[in-house]
């Protein structure tokens, strides 16, 4: 580790600058195994685009715990020294979360996004705090707290995650930042920045909020989400837009913001779909979006939402509306770019 626990907050202030993107798992065309080369391609692709970090989305589709670990290991190995790698703790049990943290530390991750285990049904906010504390204490990694509606903590506070509870968590030594996961509540956003913006690095991941959150609240990083859909390695426009806001160049930042708006309006339907409302992400569609702009692609293993033609057409239209030519042919997506280059094709008979 580059830092000790007591240095974690300071370390983050220096290193969490810009955008954190997401890398999704790639599989062999028959979905039986992880596709190591595809995963490495996606990490390199994130480096080329200029992201400061990449979140390795181990929870995004059906994988064994061992596969999740291996996915993280491949990504961390490819990333070493070039881009930070983080892991989301959306595991089945708290024990698994802790085991994943130990693994993440061993393979060279820098930080973890703190989720709550699927089996965790706390009886009080105190119980949430204690578990958070236990998870943080179990690791030397920097941790990012993540208030989200998906944890069903609305029973404790109408905001769905009590900002005062978060503020208490922010005092934990290796809690360095926050990803706002309740993204449709400006009141919640304002409270997060007001109550703990001086303790940790609060981030609103939705780029449509940056014209407010950067100049007014000093947001210095954002993520993790699939920002790459707005850009290409030779024209990393969203990163540029973010950096212009940070540097106080409001006119130029807003010009880019409006330039990307037609795509944002179309892509918003993906992130606000019924699938998202149910607390899930449309991994196959995210994977498709990434492939259109240079990612490896490849469908993911079930359980994952199905990908339809109208969704693909809408994604391509979004990219064209901001001057990006979507990748072709579609067949390549289904087996993954790296596999396609090796001559693999969809089996027509199946």
């Amino acid at each position: 580790m580059e830092f000790t626990k007591s240095e974690a907050k300071q370390w983050a202030r220096t290193h969490f600058k810009g955008l954190e993107n997401v890398v999704l798992p790639s599989f062999t065309p028959d979905l039986s195994e992880l596709d190591e080369e595809g995963i490495r391609h996606d990490v390199r692709y994130n480096i080329e685009q200029g992201f400061f970090s990449v979140l390795c989305a181990i929870e995004s589709c059906g994988m064994t715990f061992e596969e999740q670990k291996h996915f993280l290991e491949i990504a961390a190995d490819e990333a070493r020294g070039k881009i930070l790698v983080s892991v989301p703790l959306l595991c089945d049990t708290i024990e698994q979360s802790i085991e994943m943290l130990h693994h993440a530390e061993r393979v060279g991750c820098a930080h973890a996004l703190l989720g709550y285990a699927a089996t965790f049904h706390p009886e009080s906010e105190e119980a949430i705090y204690r578990v958070t504390r236990k998870i943080c204490d179990s690791t030397n990694l920097a941790t990012v707290i993540y208030p989200s509606h998906t944890f069903d903590f609305g029973k404790f506070h109408p905001s769905k995650f009590n900002p005062s509870l978060l503020s208490r968590m922010a005092d934990i030594e290796n809690v360095v930042a926050m990803k706002i996961g309740i993204i449709d509540s400006p009141g919640f956003t304002a409270e997060c920045f007001r109550l703990m913006g001086d303790k940790i690095l609060v981030n609103h991941p939705d780029d449509s909020n940056w014209p407010i959150t950067i100049p007014q609240y000093g947001q210095q990083w954002a993520g993790a989400t699939n920002y790459d859909v707005y850009q290409s390695p030779d024209n990393p426009r969203l990163i540029e837009c973010f950096n212009l806001f940070v540097n106080g160049e409001f006119d130029r930042a807003m010009a880019l913001h409006w330039e990307l708006t037609p795509a944002r309006n179309l892509l918003r339907e993906q992130t606000t779909s019924k699938i998202a409302g149910g607390g899930l992400r449309h991994t196959n569609l995210f994977k498709y979006d990434q492939w259109l702009v240079g990612g490896n692609g490849g469908i993911v293993r079930p359980p994952a939402a199905k990908l339809y033609e109208h969704e693909k057409a809408s994604a391509r239209a979004a990219l064209r509306s901001i001057g990006i030519t979507p990748r072709e042919p579609d067949d390549e997506f289904y087996v993954g770019r790296v596999n396609y280059a090796r001559g693999m094709r969809l089996k027509p008979e199946t």
Binding site: G187, Q216, W258
Partner: protein, 353 residues
């Protein structure tokens, strides 16, 4: 009116503070005529709730132009000096809009919220500016600019209403304020405050945003909207929430904000479904307003129908924030004032008498 055009911006800075509510017309139970007493009741209610202004929303259902004018007259007469009345200029043609602006001035309104006529299909932003200027020049009123997605101006700018065009409009002498009608993305709100906030009083009407826009951008008024739904005259919580934010008492303001969360969720669930299409569920507004003490009564066609599941959802939300919904249901259908005079629904025909 005593205010000179050159004084409107100053007037606004001094007088547009707090929240602006919204009243809808009331009719006789057979819907044949305006119910003057019902309209006056609603103005009185809004005064008791602590609103500084009220929009006389005449475009919420079928009315003749003469009826719309009369509705505004009654509202102004009842308001006197106790609350300022605003009109919503969203008519069929530019000529009709100007006619209504002049009438509003004569009737005693202070402000008009400027939308664009239904038959207005501009070829350029210059056309939009010229129409705006013409409407502003036509009457001695304080004008509230209203950029909204409803006009389909996204063909000129991806934001749906170019903030720089607004900035030019904000220089018009009697343009005093602005209601942000493009609520998402938040970037639009930020641009309006940045580019126009020093010229006119920008207001984001969405209460969820106030915890940002009041402390960070100095928003001093909000509306007009159906804020009355969240409160009662003896406990005007949303007005209080806004004022606490203005006074920098964020902790107490946010306590009220979170306490009102159940009602905000219910409002969003009930009302947002029709918003993207550019329509408001005014029948539901009327019912909701009645539940918290306003006159109620049905609106004339064309309107969206009111269903039992709507009603149950709203009542549950009101109870969740400690407001006892008004009863009995029959009172709503004829209007509170008419009901107190003995009017009842005609049982045999299902029509009110």
């Amino acid at each position: 009116m005593e205010i000179k055009k050159s004084e409107w911006k100053d007037w606004a800075r001094k007088n547009m503070k707090g929240l602006a509510g919204c009243i809808l017309p009331s009719f006789t139970p057979d819907l044949s005529e305006l119910d003057e007493a019902g309209i006056r009741w609603d103005v009185q209610q809004h005064i008791k709730h602590g609103f500084f202004s009220v929009l006389a929303e005449s475009l919420c259902c079928g009315m003749t132009t003469e009826e719309r004018k009369r509705f505004v007259e009654i509202a102004c007469d009842e308001a006197g000096d106790r609350i300022s009345v605003m009109v919503n200029i969203f008519y069929n043609s530019l000529e009709e809009s100007i006619e209504m602006l002049r009438h509003a001035e004569k009737a005693g309104c202070y402000t008009a919220m400027l939308a664009y006529p239904i038959n207005f299909y501009p070829r350029s932003e210059e056309d939009v500016y010229q129409a705006t200027k013409m409407m502003c020049d036509s009457a001695n009123l304080g004008i509230v600019l209203y950029p909204s997605h409803k006009y389909n101006f996204a063909r000129f700018h991806p934001s749906a209403f170019n903030p720089r065009l607004l900035s030019r409009m904000a220089d018009i002498e009697n343009a005093v304020a602005m209601k942000v009608g493009i609520l998402s993305p938040a970037g639009y709100t930020a641009e309006c405050f940045r580019l126009v906030g020093h010229k006119v009083l920008v207001n984001c009407p969405e209460e969820g945003m106030w915890s940002i826009t009041v402390p960070k951008y100095g928003q001093q008024w909000a509306g007009p909207s159906n804020y009355v739904m969240c409160q009662t005259p003896d406990n005007p919580r949303l007005v209080e929430h806004f004022n606490l934010l203005v006074n920098g008492d964020i902790d107490r303001a946010m306590d009220i904000f979170w306490a009102l969360a159940p009602i905000q969720s219910a409002r969003a669930a009930a009302l947002n479904a029709t918003l993207a299409g550019g329509l408001y569920h005014f029948t539901l507004w009327k019912y909701w307003q009645w539940l918290v003490g306003c006159n109620g009564g049905l609106l004339r066609q064309p309107i969206m129908p009111l269903y039992e599941h709507h009603k149950e959802g709203i009542k549950a939300a009101l109870k969740a924030v400690g407001i006892t919904p008004r009863e009995p249901e029959e009172e709503f259908y004829v209007g509170r004032v008419n009901y107190s005079k003995g009017a009842r629904l005609k049982v045999q025909s299902g029509q009110a008498v």
